[in-house]
């Protein structure tokens, strides 16, 4: 025996192999691109169409992910169910992300309260406007929500490329809000999609579907 039979490493390698197809990278990159195109503040002002189009585009990205997974990569990769430890990690991630969403809703609530209470709203506005920090503050808050959330996802789902994606996403949100230009976020989104595409092509090439002489399963 030249190498130690490391069961944890075997499990980790098997788990990480489910990301080899690059589809998750493509989906997350497309989400950033969709967000960049539809959620920046257009000169004409916000319209509900921005949000609706962004959601539709994100649904499309998600749909592409599931179709690709079901019809292209899963038949090549095979199906696997991992043990209780992975399920516990997933449940923990759901709880933590729910808390993050709750905090976001709380912040949104505070913003609405600011609108309802013009005095408070004005005080906050004056504080930031006096220092010309309004856009910077919103950009920092936005990227602080997106970046660490994605880092948590990467950690709990054992997805190493997720850390790179977290940095790209946080930067995309920051530039999108601060400069109010979608192009930078689109470029950053593309930098997430491209490695995913390379992985996807490589995966399809190295994982052929079974020939006719070999059983389907």
């Amino acid at each position: 025996m030249t190498a130690q039979l490391n069961l944890k490493e075997i499990e980790r390698r098997a788990f990480r192999s489910t990301y080899e197809d690059g589809l998750l990278d493509i989906e997350l990159g497309l989400v950033v691109i969709c967000m960049s195109i539809f959620v920046y503040r257009p000169p004409t002002g916000y319209s509900p169409a921005n949000i609706v189009l962004a959601l539709l585009a994100m649904l499309l990205a998600n749909g592409l992910f599931w179709v690709g997974k079901k019809f292209i990569t899963l038949p090549r990769m095979g199906r696997v169910r991992f043990g209780a430890a992975r399920k516990r990690k997933k449940a923990t991630l759901v709880i933590i992300l729910s808390l993050v969403v709750l905090i976001q809703v709380g912040l949104l609530g505070l913003t609405v309260l600011g609108w309802l209470n013009p005095e408070v709203g004005a005080k906050v506005n004056d504080f930031f406007k006096a220092r010309d920090l309004m856009d910077l503050a919103v950009a920092v808050i936005g990227s602080l929500f997106v970046g660490p959330s994605m880092i948590l996802v990467a950690y709990f789902t054992d997805f190493p490329r997720g850390y790179y994606i977290a940095v790209m996403m946080a930067l995309a949100v920051f530039l999108l809000i601060y400069l109010n230009q979608p192009i930078y976020a689109i470029i950053l989104g593309s930098l997430i999609v491209l490695p995913g595409l390379v992985l996807f092509v490589r995966f399809v090439k190295t994982h052929p579907l079974h020939g006719e002489g070999v059983p389907d399963d």
């Binding site: 039979l5 075997i10 090549r76 095979g78």
Partner: protein, 109 residues
């Protein structure tokens, strides 16, 4: 050459479960030990075994009662889900225990 008083009892080697000891089956069992279940394709990709080779090893493990095979359909495609039985898990644990015992006092060269 004097014999080390702490040298492992070699008779334990003869007691090794040969069904688990074979490298390809050991790879399959180690993988199935750390996951809940997997299908044939996943095992092929992870172990690097060919379809025929893997199939032969799985049959042996199934015959020994170490492996449970569940056949179903995913849409129109047949799907074979494989998992270790309790007996298979115990056999793997026992194998690991024995191997650890054999090598724990191995002198460094």
């Amino acid at each position: 050459m004097t014999r080390n008083a702490k040298s492992p009892d070699l008779s334990e080697l003869a007691d090794l479960d040969r069904l688990v000891h074979e490298p390809a089956r050991l790879a399959v069992m180690a993988l199935l030990f750390v996951i809940e279940s997997a299908d044939f394709t996943f095992l092929m990709n992870q172990t690097g075994l060919t379809w025929g080779n893997l199939s032969a090893h799985l049959t042996k493990l199934e015959e020994a009662g170490y492996l449970e095979v569940e056949k179903s359909f995913k849409g129109r495609r047949p799907n074979t889900s494989l998992r270790l039985t309790r007996q298979g898990r115990e056999a793997f644990r026992e194998y690991a225990r024995t191997m650890k015992q054999i090598f724990q006092d191995l002198p460094t060269a």
